[in-house]
Protein backbone atom coordinates (compact mmCIF):
# COMPACT_ATOMS: atom_id res chain seq x y z
CA UNK A 1 0.00 0.00 0.00
CA UNK A 2 2.57 2.55 1.10
CA UNK A 3 4.88 1.73 -1.81
CA UNK A 4 2.09 2.21 -4.35
CA UNK A 5 1.22 5.50 -2.68
CA UNK A 6 4.79 6.71 -2.87
CA UNK A 7 5.05 5.72 -6.54
CA UNK A 8 1.76 7.53 -7.23
CA UNK A 9 2.94 10.60 -5.33
CA UNK A 10 6.24 10.64 -7.20
CA UNK A 11 4.40 10.28 -10.49
CA UNK A 12 1.96 13.12 -9.94
CA UNK A 13 4.69 15.14 -8.27
CA UNK A 14 6.92 14.88 -11.32
CA UNK A 15 3.99 15.98 -13.51
CA UNK A 16 3.44 19.06 -11.32
CA UNK A 17 7.17 19.63 -11.14
CA UNK A 18 7.62 19.71 -14.90
CA UNK A 19 4.62 21.95 -15.45
CA UNK A 20 5.95 24.23 -12.71
CA UNK A 21 9.41 24.15 -14.27
CA UNK A 22 7.86 25.66 -17.38
CA UNK A 23 6.39 28.52 -15.34
CA UNK A 24 9.74 29.09 -13.72
CA UNK A 25 11.65 29.08 -17.01
CA UNK A 26 9.36 31.63 -18.59
CA UNK A 27 9.56 33.83 -15.51
CA UNK A 28 13.35 33.64 -15.38
CA UNK A 29 13.86 34.20 -19.10
CA UNK A 30 11.44 37.06 -19.68
CA UNK A 31 10.16 38.19 -16.28
CA UNK A 32 6.64 37.37 -17.41
CA UNK A 33 4.03 35.01 -16.13
CA UNK A 34 1.94 32.62 -18.13
CA UNK A 35 -1.21 30.84 -17.06
CA UNK A 36 -1.57 28.68 -20.15
CA UNK A 37 0.75 25.84 -19.10
CA UNK A 38 -2.11 23.58 -18.00
CA UNK A 39 -3.87 23.97 -21.30
CA UNK A 40 -0.63 23.32 -23.15
CA UNK A 41 -0.57 20.00 -21.30
CA UNK A 42 -4.14 19.34 -22.41
CA UNK A 43 -3.35 20.10 -26.05
CA UNK A 44 -0.28 17.86 -25.85
CA UNK A 45 -2.42 15.08 -24.49
CA UNK A 46 -4.93 15.44 -27.32
CA UNK A 47 -2.16 15.50 -29.94
CA UNK A 48 -0.64 12.40 -28.38
CA UNK A 49 -3.91 10.48 -28.48
CA UNK A 50 -4.45 11.56 -32.08
CA UNK A 51 -1.05 10.30 -33.19
CA UNK A 52 -1.06 7.14 -31.12
CA UNK A 53 -4.65 5.95 -31.33
CA UNK A 54 -5.99 7.31 -34.59
CA UNK A 55 -2.89 7.54 -36.78
CA UNK A 56 -1.32 4.42 -35.23
CA UNK A 57 2.17 5.87 -34.82
CA UNK A 58 4.52 4.15 -32.38
CA UNK A 59 4.40 5.67 -28.90
CA UNK A 60 7.86 7.19 -28.93
CA UNK A 61 7.22 8.82 -32.31
CA UNK A 62 3.93 10.26 -31.07
CA UNK A 63 5.68 11.63 -28.00
CA UNK A 64 8.50 13.29 -29.94
CA UNK A 65 6.19 14.65 -32.63
CA UNK A 66 3.89 16.12 -29.98
CA UNK A 67 6.82 17.71 -28.21
CA UNK A 68 8.03 19.24 -31.48
CA UNK A 69 4.59 20.65 -32.33
CA UNK A 70 4.21 22.04 -28.80
CA UNK A 71 7.61 23.71 -29.05
CA UNK A 72 6.47 25.46 -32.22
CA UNK A 73 3.18 26.46 -30.58
CA UNK A 74 5.01 27.96 -27.61
CA UNK A 75 7.36 29.89 -29.90
CA UNK A 76 4.42 31.07 -31.95
CA UNK A 77 2.59 32.38 -28.88
CA UNK A 78 5.71 34.22 -27.76
CA UNK A 79 6.39 35.72 -31.18
CA UNK A 80 2.86 36.49 -32.30
CA UNK A 81 1.32 37.65 -29.05
CA UNK A 82 3.69 38.35 -26.21
CA UNK A 83 6.38 40.19 -28.16
CA UNK A 84 3.82 42.16 -30.14
CA UNK A 85 2.12 43.22 -26.93
CA UNK A 86 5.39 44.16 -25.28
CA UNK A 87 6.32 46.26 -28.30
CA UNK A 88 3.04 48.10 -27.88
CA UNK A 89 4.19 48.94 -24.36
CA UNK A 90 1.81 46.66 -22.47
CA UNK A 91 2.37 46.14 -18.76
CA UNK A 92 3.23 42.66 -17.46
CA UNK A 93 -0.28 42.27 -16.03
CA UNK A 94 -1.68 42.46 -19.53
CA UNK A 95 0.57 39.59 -20.60
CA UNK A 96 -1.05 37.47 -17.89
CA UNK A 97 -4.45 38.40 -19.30
CA UNK A 98 -3.19 37.53 -22.77
CA UNK A 99 -2.15 34.07 -21.61
CA UNK A 100 -5.52 33.64 -19.89
CA UNK A 101 -7.25 34.31 -23.17
CA UNK A 102 -4.81 31.97 -24.94
CA UNK A 103 -5.81 29.23 -22.51
CA UNK A 104 -9.50 29.91 -23.17
CA UNK A 105 -8.87 29.73 -26.93
CA UNK A 106 -6.91 26.48 -26.56
CA UNK A 107 -9.71 24.90 -24.51
CA UNK A 108 -12.33 25.97 -26.99
CA UNK A 109 -10.38 24.80 -29.99
CA UNK A 110 -9.79 21.45 -28.30
CA UNK A 111 -13.53 21.20 -27.76
CA UNK A 112 -14.11 22.16 -31.39
CA UNK A 113 -11.65 19.62 -32.81
CA UNK A 114 -11.93 16.64 -30.46
CA UNK A 115 -15.36 17.18 -28.91
CA UNK A 116 -16.19 17.52 -25.23
CA UNK A 117 -16.18 13.81 -24.42
CA UNK A 118 -13.73 11.95 -22.26
CA UNK A 119 -11.33 10.09 -24.57
CA UNK A 120 -9.82 6.82 -23.42
CA UNK A 121 -6.10 6.57 -24.12
CA UNK A 122 -5.33 2.93 -25.11
CA UNK A 123 -3.05 1.26 -22.59
CA UNK A 124 0.56 1.27 -23.63
CA UNK A 125 1.62 -2.03 -22.12
CA UNK A 126 0.24 -5.53 -22.45
CA UNK A 127 0.15 -6.22 -18.72
CA UNK A 128 -2.05 -4.20 -16.36
CA UNK A 129 0.47 -4.33 -13.51
CA UNK A 130 4.06 -5.33 -13.11
CA UNK A 131 5.57 -6.92 -10.03
CA UNK A 132 8.58 -5.10 -8.64
CA UNK A 133 10.00 -6.41 -5.36
CA UNK A 134 6.69 -8.09 -4.71
CA UNK A 135 4.53 -4.98 -5.20
CA UNK A 136 1.96 -4.55 -7.99
CA UNK A 137 2.71 -1.34 -9.85
CA UNK A 138 0.92 0.13 -12.87
CA UNK A 139 3.54 0.42 -15.64
CA UNK A 140 2.04 3.70 -16.96
CA UNK A 141 2.87 5.35 -13.64
CA UNK A 142 6.46 4.20 -13.98
CA UNK A 143 6.62 5.48 -17.54
CA UNK A 144 5.29 8.86 -16.42
CA UNK A 145 7.79 9.02 -13.58
CA UNK A 146 10.58 7.94 -15.93
CA UNK A 147 9.75 10.57 -18.54
CA UNK A 148 9.48 13.16 -15.78
CA UNK A 149 12.90 12.34 -14.36
CA UNK A 150 14.38 12.17 -17.86
CA UNK A 151 13.02 15.65 -18.65
CA UNK A 152 14.39 17.05 -15.42
CA UNK A 153 17.85 15.60 -15.94
CA UNK A 154 17.86 16.69 -19.58
CA UNK A 155 16.85 20.22 -18.56
CA UNK A 156 19.56 20.31 -15.92
CA UNK A 157 22.28 19.37 -18.41
CA UNK A 158 20.83 21.58 -21.12
CA UNK A 159 20.82 24.63 -18.87
CA UNK A 160 24.23 24.08 -17.28
CA UNK A 161 26.34 22.32 -19.90
CA UNK A 162 25.13 23.37 -23.36
CA UNK A 163 26.04 26.68 -24.95
CA UNK A 164 22.49 27.75 -25.66
CA UNK A 165 21.38 26.92 -22.12
CA UNK A 166 24.21 28.97 -20.70
CA UNK A 167 23.30 31.90 -22.92
CA UNK A 168 19.69 31.56 -21.77
CA UNK A 169 20.80 31.84 -18.19
CA UNK A 170 22.98 34.81 -19.06
CA UNK A 171 20.09 36.57 -20.79
CA UNK A 172 17.88 35.91 -17.79
CA UNK A 173 20.43 37.47 -15.46
CA UNK A 174 21.14 40.66 -17.39
CA UNK A 175 19.62 41.31 -20.80
CA UNK A 176 21.77 44.28 -21.74
CA UNK A 177 25.06 42.64 -20.79
CA UNK A 178 24.07 39.42 -22.55
CA UNK A 179 23.16 41.16 -25.79
CA UNK A 180 26.39 43.17 -25.60
CA UNK A 181 28.24 39.85 -25.55
CA UNK A 182 26.50 38.76 -28.73
CA UNK A 183 23.72 36.62 -27.27
CA UNK A 184 20.51 36.71 -29.25
CA UNK A 185 18.22 37.67 -26.36
CA UNK A 186 14.87 37.47 -28.23
CA UNK A 187 15.79 33.97 -29.38
CA UNK A 188 16.49 32.85 -25.81
CA UNK A 189 13.15 34.25 -24.68
CA UNK A 190 11.30 32.51 -27.48
CA UNK A 191 13.13 29.27 -26.69
CA UNK A 192 12.09 29.54 -23.04
CA UNK A 193 8.41 29.72 -24.00
CA UNK A 194 8.90 26.94 -26.53
CA UNK A 195 10.67 24.64 -24.07
CA UNK A 196 8.07 25.31 -21.38
CA UNK A 197 5.20 24.32 -23.63
CA UNK A 198 7.21 21.41 -25.07
CA UNK A 199 7.70 19.98 -21.57
CA UNK A 200 4.03 20.48 -20.72
CA UNK A 201 2.98 18.79 -23.97
CA UNK A 202 5.32 15.86 -23.41
CA UNK A 203 3.98 15.35 -19.90
CA UNK A 204 0.48 15.58 -21.33
CA UNK A 205 1.15 12.58 -23.55
CA UNK A 206 2.36 10.42 -20.68
CA UNK A 207 -0.41 11.39 -18.25
CA UNK A 208 -3.03 10.66 -20.92
CA UNK A 209 -3.12 6.89 -20.22
CA UNK A 210 -3.39 7.52 -16.47
CA UNK A 211 -6.09 10.21 -16.21
CA UNK A 212 -7.79 9.95 -19.59
CA UNK A 213 -7.96 12.87 -22.00
CA UNK A 214 -10.62 15.57 -21.70
CA UNK A 215 -11.05 19.27 -22.28
CA UNK A 216 -10.58 20.62 -18.78
CA UNK A 217 -7.86 18.20 -17.66
CA UNK A 218 -5.22 20.93 -17.79
CA UNK A 219 -6.83 23.45 -15.48
CA UNK A 220 -6.19 21.70 -12.18
CA UNK A 221 -2.77 20.30 -13.15
CA UNK A 222 -1.71 23.74 -14.35
CA UNK A 223 -2.74 25.38 -11.09
CA UNK A 224 -1.01 22.72 -9.00
CA UNK A 225 2.05 23.22 -11.15
CA UNK A 226 2.18 26.89 -10.34
CA UNK A 227 1.49 26.16 -6.70
CA UNK A 228 4.54 23.92 -6.79
CA UNK A 229 6.59 26.58 -8.54
CA UNK A 230 5.62 29.17 -5.90
CA UNK A 231 6.34 26.92 -2.95
CA UNK A 232 9.70 25.99 -4.39
CA UNK A 233 10.60 29.60 -5.15
CA UNK A 234 9.19 31.09 -8.32
CA UNK A 235 11.69 31.11 -11.15
CA UNK A 236 13.94 28.44 -9.69
CA UNK A 237 14.13 25.24 -11.75
CA UNK A 238 14.99 22.93 -8.89
CA UNK A 239 12.55 24.70 -6.61
CA UNK A 240 9.71 24.03 -9.03
CA UNK A 241 10.53 20.32 -9.07
CA UNK A 242 10.79 20.16 -5.29
CA UNK A 243 7.54 22.11 -4.90
CA UNK A 244 5.77 19.91 -7.41
CA UNK A 245 6.93 16.78 -5.57
CA UNK A 246 5.78 18.33 -2.30
CA UNK A 247 2.27 18.89 -3.66
CA UNK A 248 2.25 15.41 -5.17
CA UNK A 249 2.92 13.92 -1.75
CA UNK A 250 0.49 16.22 0.10
CA UNK A 251 -2.27 15.39 -2.33
CA UNK A 252 -1.73 11.63 -2.49
CA UNK A 253 -1.44 11.15 1.24
CA UNK A 254 -4.38 13.41 2.07
CA UNK A 255 -6.64 11.60 -0.36
CA UNK A 256 -5.43 8.26 1.00
CA UNK A 257 -5.70 8.99 4.70
CA UNK A 258 -8.14 11.92 5.09
CA UNK A 259 -10.56 12.44 2.24
CA UNK A 260 -10.11 12.85 -1.48
CA UNK A 261 -12.57 15.73 -1.73
CA UNK A 262 -10.44 17.89 0.57
CA UNK A 263 -7.15 17.40 -1.26
CA UNK A 264 -7.50 20.45 -3.55
CA UNK A 265 -8.71 22.70 -0.74
CA UNK A 266 -5.76 21.71 1.44
CA UNK A 267 -3.30 22.15 -1.42
CA UNK A 268 -4.50 25.69 -2.10
CA UNK A 269 -4.54 26.51 1.62
CA UNK A 270 -0.91 25.39 1.82
CA UNK A 271 -0.15 27.63 -1.16
CA UNK A 272 -1.79 30.66 0.44
CA UNK A 273 -0.10 30.05 3.78
CA UNK A 274 3.27 29.75 2.05
CA UNK A 275 2.63 32.97 0.15
CA UNK A 276 1.74 34.79 3.36
CA UNK A 277 4.52 33.56 5.62
CA UNK A 278 7.29 32.46 3.28
CA UNK A 279 6.80 34.16 -0.08
CA UNK A 280 10.38 33.51 -1.17
CA UNK A 281 9.71 29.79 -1.22
CA UNK A 282 12.07 26.99 -0.34
CA UNK A 283 14.82 28.26 -2.64
CA UNK A 284 14.64 31.94 -1.59
CA UNK A 285 13.64 33.69 -4.79
CA UNK A 286 13.13 37.45 -4.83
CA UNK A 287 9.42 38.33 -4.81
CA UNK A 288 9.16 41.57 -2.86
CA UNK A 289 9.35 45.06 -4.22
Amino acid sequence: MIVQLIIGALMIGSVYGIVGLGYGMIYKASGLMTLAQGDMLMIGSFLGITFYKYLKFPFIVSLLLTMFIMFCLGEFIERAMVTTLLKKGAEPVYIILCTISVSMILQNSAMFIWGRNYLQFPSLFKTATVKILGYDIVPENLLCLGVGILCMVAMHFFMTKSKFGTSMRAAAQDETAASALGINVPATKGAAWGIASMLAGGVGVVVGPIFGVYMSMGAMIGQKGFAGAVVGGYGNMYGAIAGGMFFGFVETFISAYVSSSYKDLISFSVLIIVMIFMPTGLFKEQVME
Binding site: Y27, M33, L35, M81, T84, L85, K88, A90, P92, V93, Y94, I96, L97, C98, I100, S101, V102, M104, I105, Q107, N108, M111, R116, Q223, F226, A227, V230, Y234, S261, Y262, D264, L265, F268, S269, L271, I272, M275, I276, P279, V287, M288, E289
Partner: protein
Protein backbone atom coordinates in the same frame (compact mmCIF):
# COMPACT_ATOMS: atom_id res chain seq x y z
CA UNK B 1 -20.01 78.22 -16.59
CA UNK B 2 -21.01 77.61 -20.21
CA UNK B 3 -18.91 74.44 -20.27
CA UNK B 4 -20.66 73.14 -17.20
CA UNK B 5 -24.04 73.83 -18.74
CA UNK B 6 -23.09 72.00 -21.92
CA UNK B 7 -21.84 69.03 -19.93
CA UNK B 8 -25.12 68.96 -18.07
CA UNK B 9 -27.05 69.04 -21.33
CA UNK B 10 -25.05 66.08 -22.69
CA UNK B 11 -25.64 64.05 -19.56
CA UNK B 12 -29.36 64.83 -19.68
CA UNK B 13 -29.57 63.64 -23.29
CA UNK B 14 -27.69 60.45 -22.43
CA UNK B 15 -29.99 59.85 -19.48
CA UNK B 16 -33.06 60.35 -21.68
CA UNK B 17 -31.81 57.86 -24.27
CA UNK B 18 -31.06 55.33 -21.55
CA UNK B 19 -34.47 55.89 -20.00
CA UNK B 20 -36.23 55.30 -23.34
CA UNK B 21 -34.27 52.11 -23.96
CA UNK B 22 -35.05 50.97 -20.42
CA UNK B 23 -38.75 51.69 -20.86
CA UNK B 24 -38.82 49.43 -23.91
CA UNK B 25 -36.79 46.72 -22.28
CA UNK B 26 -38.84 46.79 -19.11
CA UNK B 27 -42.01 45.72 -20.92
CA UNK B 28 -40.59 42.23 -21.21
CA UNK B 29 -39.69 40.11 -18.20
CA UNK B 30 -36.57 38.68 -19.82
CA UNK B 31 -35.20 42.03 -20.95
CA UNK B 32 -35.80 43.44 -17.49
CA UNK B 33 -33.68 40.60 -16.13
CA UNK B 34 -30.91 41.53 -18.57
CA UNK B 35 -31.01 45.09 -17.22
CA UNK B 36 -30.77 43.71 -13.68
CA UNK B 37 -27.68 41.71 -14.64
CA UNK B 38 -26.12 44.81 -16.14
CA UNK B 39 -26.64 46.65 -12.83
CA UNK B 40 -25.18 43.81 -10.76
CA UNK B 41 -22.14 43.42 -12.98
CA UNK B 42 -21.63 47.17 -12.94
CA UNK B 43 -21.42 47.13 -9.14
CA UNK B 44 -18.95 44.22 -9.15
CA UNK B 45 -16.80 45.70 -11.90
CA UNK B 46 -16.81 49.08 -10.16
CA UNK B 47 -15.36 47.30 -7.15
CA UNK B 48 -12.65 45.75 -9.32
CA UNK B 49 -11.97 49.12 -10.93
CA UNK B 50 -11.18 50.74 -7.57
CA UNK B 51 -8.64 48.01 -6.99
CA UNK B 52 -7.13 47.55 -10.45
CA UNK B 53 -7.94 50.77 -12.26
CA UNK B 54 -7.15 53.25 -9.52
CA UNK B 55 -4.76 51.50 -7.13
CA UNK B 56 -3.02 49.28 -9.69
CA UNK B 57 -3.47 46.10 -7.63
CA UNK B 58 -4.46 43.19 -9.81
CA UNK B 59 -6.98 40.57 -8.79
CA UNK B 60 -7.80 37.52 -10.88
CA UNK B 61 -9.93 36.02 -8.15
CA UNK B 62 -12.75 38.47 -7.70
CA UNK B 63 -15.34 35.73 -8.13
CA UNK B 64 -14.30 34.72 -4.59
CA UNK B 65 -15.78 37.90 -3.08
CA UNK B 66 -18.80 37.57 -5.35
CA UNK B 67 -19.29 34.04 -4.00
CA UNK B 68 -18.77 35.12 -0.40
CA UNK B 69 -21.41 37.82 -0.81
CA UNK B 70 -23.88 35.47 -2.47
CA UNK B 71 -23.43 32.51 -0.13
CA UNK B 72 -23.07 34.70 2.95
CA UNK B 73 -26.29 36.53 2.38
CA UNK B 74 -28.16 33.39 1.37
CA UNK B 75 -27.08 31.45 4.44
CA UNK B 76 -27.70 34.37 6.78
CA UNK B 77 -31.21 34.89 5.43
CA UNK B 78 -32.19 31.23 5.12
CA UNK B 79 -30.46 29.59 8.09
CA UNK B 80 -30.45 32.49 10.57
CA UNK B 81 -33.69 34.12 9.47
CA UNK B 82 -32.24 37.60 9.03
CA UNK B 83 -34.26 39.72 6.56
CA UNK B 84 -32.46 39.87 3.17
CA UNK B 85 -32.04 43.65 3.23
CA UNK B 86 -29.85 43.33 6.34
CA UNK B 87 -28.18 40.05 5.41
CA UNK B 88 -26.95 41.61 2.15
CA UNK B 89 -25.12 44.30 4.10
CA UNK B 90 -23.76 41.77 6.59
CA UNK B 91 -22.49 39.53 3.78
CA UNK B 92 -20.82 42.50 2.10
CA UNK B 93 -19.09 43.30 5.39
CA UNK B 94 -17.91 39.68 5.71
CA UNK B 95 -16.54 39.90 2.18
CA UNK B 96 -14.81 43.15 3.12
CA UNK B 97 -13.13 41.57 6.13
CA UNK B 98 -11.89 38.66 4.01
CA UNK B 99 -10.66 41.12 1.42
CA UNK B 100 -8.65 42.88 4.12
CA UNK B 101 -7.17 39.59 5.33
CA UNK B 102 -6.04 38.74 1.80
CA UNK B 103 -4.74 42.29 1.36
CA UNK B 104 -2.36 42.14 4.32
CA UNK B 105 0.12 39.79 2.59
CA UNK B 106 -0.91 41.06 -0.84
CA UNK B 107 0.08 44.61 -0.01
CA UNK B 108 3.75 43.69 -0.02
CA UNK B 109 3.85 41.29 -2.97
CA UNK B 110 4.83 42.41 -6.46
CA UNK B 111 2.40 42.16 -9.33
CA UNK B 112 2.96 38.60 -10.51
CA UNK B 113 2.73 37.15 -7.07
CA UNK B 114 -0.34 39.16 -6.30
CA UNK B 115 -2.01 37.58 -9.34
CA UNK B 116 -0.97 34.16 -8.10
CA UNK B 117 -2.30 34.83 -4.62
CA UNK B 118 -5.65 36.11 -5.88
CA UNK B 119 -6.05 33.18 -8.28
CA UNK B 120 -5.29 30.77 -5.46
CA UNK B 121 -7.79 32.53 -3.20
CA UNK B 122 -10.46 32.39 -5.89
CA UNK B 123 -9.87 28.68 -6.41
CA UNK B 124 -9.91 28.03 -2.69
CA UNK B 125 -13.27 29.71 -2.19
CA UNK B 126 -14.71 27.89 -5.21
CA UNK B 127 -13.53 24.50 -3.94
CA UNK B 128 -14.74 25.32 -0.44
CA UNK B 129 -18.29 26.09 -1.55
CA UNK B 130 -18.28 23.03 -3.81
CA UNK B 131 -17.32 20.48 -1.18
CA UNK B 132 -18.94 21.66 2.06
CA UNK B 133 -22.22 19.86 1.40
CA UNK B 134 -23.96 20.37 4.77
CA UNK B 135 -23.60 24.14 4.55
CA UNK B 136 -23.80 24.99 0.86
CA UNK B 137 -25.47 21.90 -0.62
CA UNK B 138 -22.43 21.30 -2.81
CA UNK B 139 -22.61 21.29 -6.58
CA UNK B 140 -26.43 21.16 -6.66
CA UNK B 141 -26.64 24.64 -5.17
CA UNK B 142 -29.23 26.38 -3.01
CA UNK B 143 -32.76 26.99 -4.28
CA UNK B 144 -35.68 29.16 -3.17
CA UNK B 145 -33.66 32.05 -1.79
CA UNK B 146 -36.04 34.75 -0.47
CA UNK B 147 -36.48 37.98 -2.42
CA UNK B 148 -35.46 41.33 -0.97
CA UNK B 149 -38.20 43.09 0.96
CA UNK B 150 -38.10 46.68 2.15
CA UNK B 151 -40.71 48.36 4.38
CA UNK B 152 -43.21 45.57 3.82
CA UNK B 153 -42.83 45.55 0.01
CA UNK B 154 -41.26 42.44 -1.55
CA UNK B 155 -39.34 42.85 -4.78
CA UNK B 156 -40.54 39.78 -6.68
CA UNK B 157 -40.91 40.93 -10.28
CA UNK B 158 -37.88 41.62 -12.44
CA UNK B 159 -39.13 45.14 -13.13
CA UNK B 160 -39.33 46.15 -9.49
CA UNK B 161 -35.94 44.53 -8.86
CA UNK B 162 -34.50 46.60 -11.67
CA UNK B 163 -35.55 49.86 -10.05
CA UNK B 164 -34.03 48.78 -6.74
CA UNK B 165 -30.80 47.68 -8.42
CA UNK B 166 -30.64 50.85 -10.49
CA UNK B 167 -30.95 52.94 -7.33
CA UNK B 168 -28.17 50.93 -5.64
CA UNK B 169 -25.95 51.15 -8.73
CA UNK B 170 -26.35 54.93 -8.90
CA UNK B 171 -25.56 55.19 -5.20
CA UNK B 172 -22.45 53.03 -5.72
CA UNK B 173 -21.31 55.17 -8.65
CA UNK B 174 -21.85 58.39 -6.68
CA UNK B 175 -19.92 56.90 -3.75
CA UNK B 176 -17.10 55.85 -6.08
CA UNK B 177 -16.95 59.33 -7.55
CA UNK B 178 -16.79 60.84 -4.06
CA UNK B 179 -14.02 58.43 -3.01
CA UNK B 180 -11.95 59.06 -6.12
CA UNK B 181 -12.26 62.84 -5.87
CA UNK B 182 -11.27 62.79 -2.20
CA UNK B 183 -7.91 62.57 -0.46
CA UNK B 184 -8.25 58.77 -0.41
CA UNK B 185 -8.77 58.56 -4.17
CA UNK B 186 -5.78 60.77 -4.85
CA UNK B 187 -3.72 58.53 -2.57
CA UNK B 188 -4.90 55.47 -4.56
CA UNK B 189 -3.79 57.05 -7.81
CA UNK B 190 -0.45 58.04 -6.29
CA UNK B 191 0.12 54.43 -5.19
CA UNK B 192 -0.69 53.23 -8.71
CA UNK B 193 1.58 55.70 -10.45
CA UNK B 194 4.66 55.32 -8.30
CA UNK B 195 4.77 53.44 -5.04
CA UNK B 196 8.12 54.83 -3.94
CA UNK B 197 7.16 58.42 -4.69
CA UNK B 198 3.86 57.97 -2.87
CA UNK B 199 5.76 56.61 0.10
CA UNK B 200 8.06 59.60 -0.01
CA UNK B 201 5.11 61.99 -0.05
CA UNK B 202 3.97 60.58 3.26
CA UNK B 203 1.26 58.30 1.95
CA UNK B 204 0.94 55.10 3.94
CA UNK B 205 1.07 52.76 0.94
CA UNK B 206 0.24 49.59 2.83
CA UNK B 207 -2.77 51.20 4.52
CA UNK B 208 -4.20 52.46 1.23
CA UNK B 209 -3.61 49.16 -0.56
CA UNK B 210 -5.51 47.34 2.16
CA UNK B 211 -8.23 49.97 2.03
CA UNK B 212 -8.59 49.55 -1.74
CA UNK B 213 -8.92 45.79 -1.26
CA UNK B 214 -11.55 46.34 1.43
CA UNK B 215 -13.68 48.71 -0.66
CA UNK B 216 -13.36 46.47 -3.69
CA UNK B 217 -14.30 43.33 -1.79
CA UNK B 218 -17.24 45.13 -0.19
CA UNK B 219 -18.68 46.21 -3.55
CA UNK B 220 -18.15 42.85 -5.21
CA UNK B 221 -19.67 41.07 -2.22
CA UNK B 222 -22.64 43.42 -2.42
CA UNK B 223 -23.08 42.54 -6.09
CA UNK B 224 -22.93 38.83 -5.28
CA UNK B 225 -25.53 39.16 -2.53
CA UNK B 226 -27.87 41.11 -4.80
CA UNK B 227 -27.39 38.46 -7.49
CA UNK B 228 -28.38 35.68 -5.07
CA UNK B 229 -31.56 37.46 -4.02
CA UNK B 230 -32.46 38.38 -7.61
CA UNK B 231 -32.06 34.93 -9.21
CA UNK B 232 -33.06 33.01 -6.06
CA UNK B 233 -30.74 30.15 -7.01
CA UNK B 234 -26.99 29.87 -6.58
CA UNK B 235 -24.57 27.07 -7.34
CA UNK B 236 -20.76 26.94 -7.46
CA UNK B 237 -20.92 27.10 -11.28
CA UNK B 238 -21.54 30.84 -11.11
CA UNK B 239 -18.35 31.46 -9.14
CA UNK B 240 -15.61 29.73 -11.13
CA UNK B 241 -12.54 31.59 -12.33
CA UNK B 242 -14.39 32.22 -15.59
CA UNK B 243 -16.43 34.73 -13.61
CA UNK B 244 -13.28 36.45 -12.36
CA UNK B 245 -12.00 36.64 -15.92
CA UNK B 246 -15.37 37.95 -17.06
CA UNK B 247 -15.17 40.81 -14.55
CA UNK B 248 -11.68 41.62 -15.76
CA UNK B 249 -12.84 41.52 -19.39
CA UNK B 250 -15.73 43.85 -18.63
CA UNK B 251 -13.45 46.28 -16.85
CA UNK B 252 -10.81 46.32 -19.58
CA UNK B 253 -13.32 46.50 -22.39
CA UNK B 254 -15.14 49.41 -20.80
CA UNK B 255 -11.95 51.18 -19.83
CA UNK B 256 -10.10 51.23 -16.53
CA UNK B 257 -9.93 54.13 -14.15
CA UNK B 258 -13.16 55.85 -15.17
CA UNK B 259 -16.68 56.17 -13.87
CA UNK B 260 -18.49 55.13 -17.04
CA UNK B 261 -16.06 52.36 -18.06
CA UNK B 262 -17.52 49.61 -15.85
CA UNK B 263 -21.06 50.59 -16.90
CA UNK B 264 -20.27 50.41 -20.61
CA UNK B 265 -18.17 47.26 -20.26
CA UNK B 266 -20.74 45.32 -18.28
CA UNK B 267 -23.62 46.50 -20.50
CA UNK B 268 -21.86 45.39 -23.70
CA UNK B 269 -20.57 42.10 -22.30
CA UNK B 270 -23.91 41.14 -20.71
CA UNK B 271 -25.82 41.93 -23.89
CA UNK B 272 -23.31 40.01 -26.04
CA UNK B 273 -23.49 37.04 -23.66
CA UNK B 274 -27.29 37.04 -23.85
CA UNK B 275 -27.29 37.34 -27.65
CA UNK B 276 -24.88 34.42 -27.88
CA UNK B 277 -27.03 32.25 -25.64
CA UNK B 278 -27.36 29.60 -28.38
CA UNK B 279 -23.56 29.27 -28.62
CA UNK B 280 -23.13 28.90 -24.89
CA UNK B 281 -20.31 26.37 -25.41
CA UNK B 282 -18.23 29.06 -27.10
CA UNK B 283 -18.83 31.73 -24.44
CA UNK B 284 -15.22 31.52 -23.25
CA UNK B 285 -13.96 31.97 -26.79
CA UNK B 286 -16.00 35.18 -27.05
CA UNK B 287 -14.51 36.52 -23.82
CA UNK B 288 -11.05 35.58 -25.05
CA UNK B 289 -11.61 37.47 -28.28
CA UNK B 290 -12.82 40.49 -26.29
CA UNK B 291 -9.71 40.41 -24.11
CA UNK B 292 -7.39 40.09 -27.09
CA UNK B 293 -9.20 42.88 -28.93
CA UNK B 294 -8.71 45.15 -25.94
CA UNK B 295 -5.08 44.18 -25.51
CA UNK B 296 -4.13 44.62 -29.16
CA UNK B 297 -6.38 47.36 -30.44
CA UNK B 298 -8.12 49.25 -27.61
CA UNK B 299 -5.59 49.74 -24.82
CA UNK B 300 -7.96 52.13 -23.02
CA UNK B 301 -11.21 50.34 -23.75
CA UNK B 302 -14.35 51.91 -25.17
CA UNK B 303 -13.84 54.97 -22.98
CA UNK B 304 -10.48 55.48 -24.69
CA UNK B 305 -12.14 55.55 -28.13
CA UNK B 306 -14.74 58.03 -26.92
CA UNK B 307 -12.01 60.24 -25.46
CA UNK B 308 -9.95 60.31 -28.67
CA UNK B 309 -13.11 61.00 -30.64
CA UNK B 310 -14.00 63.89 -28.34
CA UNK B 311 -10.48 65.26 -28.57
CA UNK B 312 -10.62 65.13 -32.37
CA UNK B 313 -13.95 66.96 -32.44
CA UNK B 314 -12.55 69.58 -30.07
CA UNK B 315 -9.48 70.05 -32.25
CA UNK B 316 -11.65 70.65 -35.27
CA UNK B 317 -14.32 72.91 -33.82
CA UNK B 318 -12.82 74.17 -30.60
CA UNK B 319 -11.16 77.53 -30.04
CA UNK B 320 -7.79 77.86 -31.72
CA UNK B 321 -4.92 79.19 -29.67
CA UNK B 322 -4.10 82.76 -30.62
Amino acid sequence: MLKKLRQKRISIIVLLIVAIICAFMLKERYLALVLCFICINTIAVTGLDILFGYTGQVSFGHAAYYAIGAYGSTLLSMKAGIPPAISILMASLISMVLGMIIAIPAAKLVKHFLSLLTIAFGQMVYIFISITDPLTNGYSGIMAIPHISLFGYTFTSNQSNFFLLLAITILVLIAKNRIIKSRVGRAFIAVRENTQAANGMGINVRYYKIMAFAISAFLTGLAGALYAHLVCFISPDSFTNTTSNLFMTMLLFGGIGSLAGPVIGSAILVIVTELMQSFVAYQMLIYAIFILAVLFYLPNGVIGILDTFRAKVKNKFGKKAE
